[in-house]
Symmetry: C2
Subunit: 182 residues, 2 copies
Amino acid sequence: MEINPSGFYEILSPRCAVLISTVDKEGKTNAAPFSFVTPVSSNPALVLYASAPQRHTLANTRETGDFVLNIAPEGLLDKLWVCSKAFPKGVSEIEKAGLTERKSKKVKAPSIEECVGWIECQLEFEKEAGDHILVVGRVVYADCRDEFMVKNEFNVSKAKPVMHIRGRRFVVAERVVQAKGE
Amino acid sequence: MEINPSGFYEILSPRCAVLISTVDKEGKTNAAPFSFVTPVSSNPALVLYASAPQRHTLANTRETGDFVLNIAPEGLLDKLWVCSKAFPKGVSEIEKAGLTERKSKKVKAPSIEECVGWIECQLEFEKEAGDHILVVGRVVYADCRDEFMVKNEFNVSKAKPVMHIRGRRFVVAERVVQAKGE
């Protein structure tokens, strides 16, 4: 069945639904879910998120030069949904959603306590791509709750990270399988 | 637990593990799994994959100007793993893995018959990012097996797409949940 190209991301799914937390130059914090997100380089460690031009996350990233990717588990889905709403700039979605912010290790943007992992990034460069802006950040600190990291492996079955399909539809990642063969 | 930044993508996971199929200027086809992949724009419809500079997928994309993202279901995991091996340029991983190639609708790169969805793309631009190259393509045709699309919604529970964590570890996406609230 042919799919309208503008909706092609329906089948390029589910995608990691991370909460991106930022702070503006007045110190007002923000968090919003993004799923157009991917690692792009290992050394240096670089990550990319694509943002619509009007998003506060992008404005804050430009103002203060950093952001945090917070890995959200299943239990935070409804709070993540609250964070997707359009609040006026300066209103903290973190507070509105009943989430807790805490100081990050190496960046000005806060981290969200209730998440299972945190990737702190400094803005490296941006580039326009269609109706979005590619924002590439350098990972300066990455952290995961001890209980979900076993021998340097992320325990997805236990962490149950939230993935996005489209609209309200998400997937909980949990069934881990191993590729066989050489 | 602090994570070495170069391994940060362990927790930015699982990520869609798509097979990218391409063809070189001599007509030799290729397929390789990638998980540093994301939609980046809706209108125009743009998708991005990040490639190490030496990958044949990148060379072929440059030579012939297009590529196809093939959405792989659980049943193809071991074949996808075969496609991840380093065969000499000109050897078709599609054949080595026992997969079937078929003509695409709008691009020169082939599509892989056994997959559940296909996103045909033409190279739009590329940009260096650390040790990888960002390759941005315009979606010119997107298609999904009828049985996995119901009322314009991708039935993830039935399609069971494969997601990558790291190394041999993958996740099968299947449990769909809905966000509650306004």
